[in-house]
């Protein structure tokens, strides 16, 4: 058995690869459950099916998927252009800081404009944070993978400093939290469990999907990623594309941060995200670097979180299973993606016998 390069990229495999990877992940997960002494069918049911059988858990799934999709869709666009923004977690935090400044400084302000201001500031915060690596790349050719990643820690420490020091709730007994946001500073809920941000997320992902596949801007991004030289000859500016991609993905991460603090969290605290910015990198790849694909991928990854908690509470399977399953999934996707450009040949070549 060996791998042989295909004459042409297989578009069938490009679509099939995530599904093969998901199937392999489920089989492997079943094996792990069996090795632990759980009934694999029961555990797989609790992990992957049961969360979809009740309205409340579907709502939780959508709320959990929302930041993953919003960030993942932006990253998908950036990665298409070979712009490797790894620091979405930091841009999310920067967005949360700016958006959170509104309730911190104007705790009484609760007009319809309040939320709008918070969201705009959230986007601005994420954009500003992403503009730094974009500038460094364009001006000094600094690798944006490193700069964007390092800035994650900077913004997290900044938030940490703010909620422990100047932005701490004066009535909060010294605990590292800001004031809790007032009613008018929280996102409205469309059902008992789903906040308005979830809807915005889906609209944004669909619009981005349209831009990528149907507009000149999308073409420019794709060409820049596939062949920077060809893009230059077509008159597309590489530095402008880099800036656009960083600002887009950063702005969406910032918006996700604003959504989180004005819905699930409800205040500023040292940790506002359990790592959505990093998990969204998996979402972008699993979604085939397509914003619409990111919707499906984000839902799947959210299911891995929710299901991981379900098997933990129902079957006492340790919480680490979530990470294990996410890791296995990413591993299989990357492995299966090999089949897009290569095929498996089962015959033994004559030369190899010698």
């Amino acid at each position: 058995m060996r791998l042989e390069k295909r004459a042409e990229r297989s578009s069938t495999m490009a679509l099939a690869s995530p599904f093969i990877a998901i199937a392999l992940t489920i089989v492997t997960a079943g094996l792990i459950f069996a090795l632990r002494g759980n009934s694999p069918l029961q555990a797989l049911y609790v992990y992957f099916i049961e969360p979809l059988t009740a309205i409340w858990s579907v709502e939780q799934l959508l709320v959990k998927a929302s930041p993953l999709i919003l960030i993942g869709a932006g990253l998908a666009v950036a990665y298409r252009a070979n712009v490797w923004n790894i620091g979405a977690e930091g841009q999310l935090t920067a967005g949360a800081i700016l958006a959170g400044a509104v309730p911190v400084f104007l705790p009484q302000w609760q007009s319809p404009l309040t939320l709008a201001a918070m969201m705009v500031l959230g986007i601005a915060g994420g954009m500003a944070w992403a503009a730094i690596p974009a500038f460094l790349r364009n001006r000094f050719s600094a690798n944006e993978i490193l700069t964007s990643l390092m800035l994650v820690y900077v913004s997290q420490l900044l938030l940490d400093y703010l909620v422990r020091g100047p932005w701490r709730d004066p009535q909060g007994f010294n605990f590292p939290k800001s004031v809790t946001f007032a009613e008018g500073q929280l996102l409205p809920y469309v059902t008992s469990g789903i906040h308005a941000g979830v809807l915005v997320t889906f609209v944004v992902a669909l619009v981005l999907g349209y831009i990528v596949s149907r507009t000149v801007k999308g073409y420019e991004i794709t060409v820049t990623g596939l062949s920077p030289r060809a893009a230059r000859f077509s008159g597309f500016s590489q530095s402008r594309t880099i800036l656009f991609c960083m600002m887009l993905s950063g702005g969406l991460a910032g918006l996700a941060g604003a959504f989180e603090i004005s819905s699930v969290v409800g205040q500023l605290q040292p940790q506002v995200s359990p790592g959505y910015g990093f998990a969204a990198i998996i979402v972008a790849f699993l979604g085939r670097l397509n914003p619409v694909g990111a919707i499906i991928a984000g839902l799947l990854l959210a299911l891995s979180y929710i299901g991981g908690e379900a098997v933990q509470t129902a079957l006492q399977i340790p919480d680490k299973i979530t990470r294990v399953i996410q890791g296995i999934l990413l591993f299989y996707i990357l492995a299966c993606d090999t089949l897009i450009n290569y095929r498996i040949v089962f015959s033994v070549p004559a030369l190899a016998r010698a």
């Binding site: 029961q42 939780q60 709320v63 605990f175 699930v264 940790q271 908690e309």
Partner: protein
Amino acid sequence: MKKLLMAAAAAALMLGAASASASAEALKACWVYVGPIGDFGYSFQHHQGLLAVQKEFGDKVETAYAENVSEADSEKTFERFAREGCKIIFGTSFGFMEPMLKVAKKFPDVKFEHATGYKTADNMGTYNAKFHEGRYVIGQIAAKMSKTGTAGYIVSFPIPEVVSGINAFMLGAQSVNPNFKVKIVWANTWFDPAKEADAAKVLLSQGADITVQHTDSAAPLQVAQEQGKFGFGQASDQYQFAPKAQLTAIVDNWAPHYINSVKAVMDGTWKPQQTWEGMENGTVSMAPYTNMPDDVAKMATETAAAIASGKLNPFTGPITKQDGTVVGEAGKPLPDGDILGMNWYVKGIDDQLPQ
């Protein structure tokens, strides 16, 4: 494939039936832990409480828990437990306060208890332990055992529980050696063995010869053992991790509180309370005194007994603050509120609190 699906469906039905029959009789009690139960410290001790409840009530209770729950994302965990039929839910970290409060409003029939916080509702109470009583005892031991007269103290977050712990430790140490010094490193985490170990190394290299920690792993204690120094266990008896270094440990025993609360829910007498218990009923106790001369062990035993009987209160006035001002009346303990909201250091601590 068809068979597999049918088997899955059958398994699902059985599972549904099983959980339905169990919840019909047993009271379901649920715990949300901030760390892993394998920390052999704070979360481990809460889990011991769960096991004690299980043992006490047998078939009459069903328990469930979630570990390593992120403070940014705990609301959905509390909601899951409320939906899954838990009648009482315990959250063991301060950061769970707002999410719990939100879920408590949504599920008025479920009881909630929050460890170490201060907000309550009709169906949400708080519980906490007077950890600082144990800190006073280990402060005295540290002052007796230290050759350099300096302890290295690794701390998590500048919240009142931690600050009052530092102060109680210092007051205990000063009662033995008025010139005792404490060096402090903020680890900004509850559980990160690598970071905690690094902090311990820094402190020991700066002249401290005893480690104390208000973080949840045994790592600082293990560093102390490697370097032939002494230290204390945190939340749980950590003797097995450093048999040559552990002097004693402040042991949290949540079992009595959990058993009482679960019983109150069963009897229908549960009310939201703000309980704050210490050595008087064993919620806070000391692990066996090891690696120390008999006279030091005797002093520690006597101090702990005096605190348990109420004869000694670590925060008895007058107490000189770091800035030189004096609080508390002579011979009288500080009011509880001052300790629960403490945000100042006593004199002699070499650190600044974020203000």
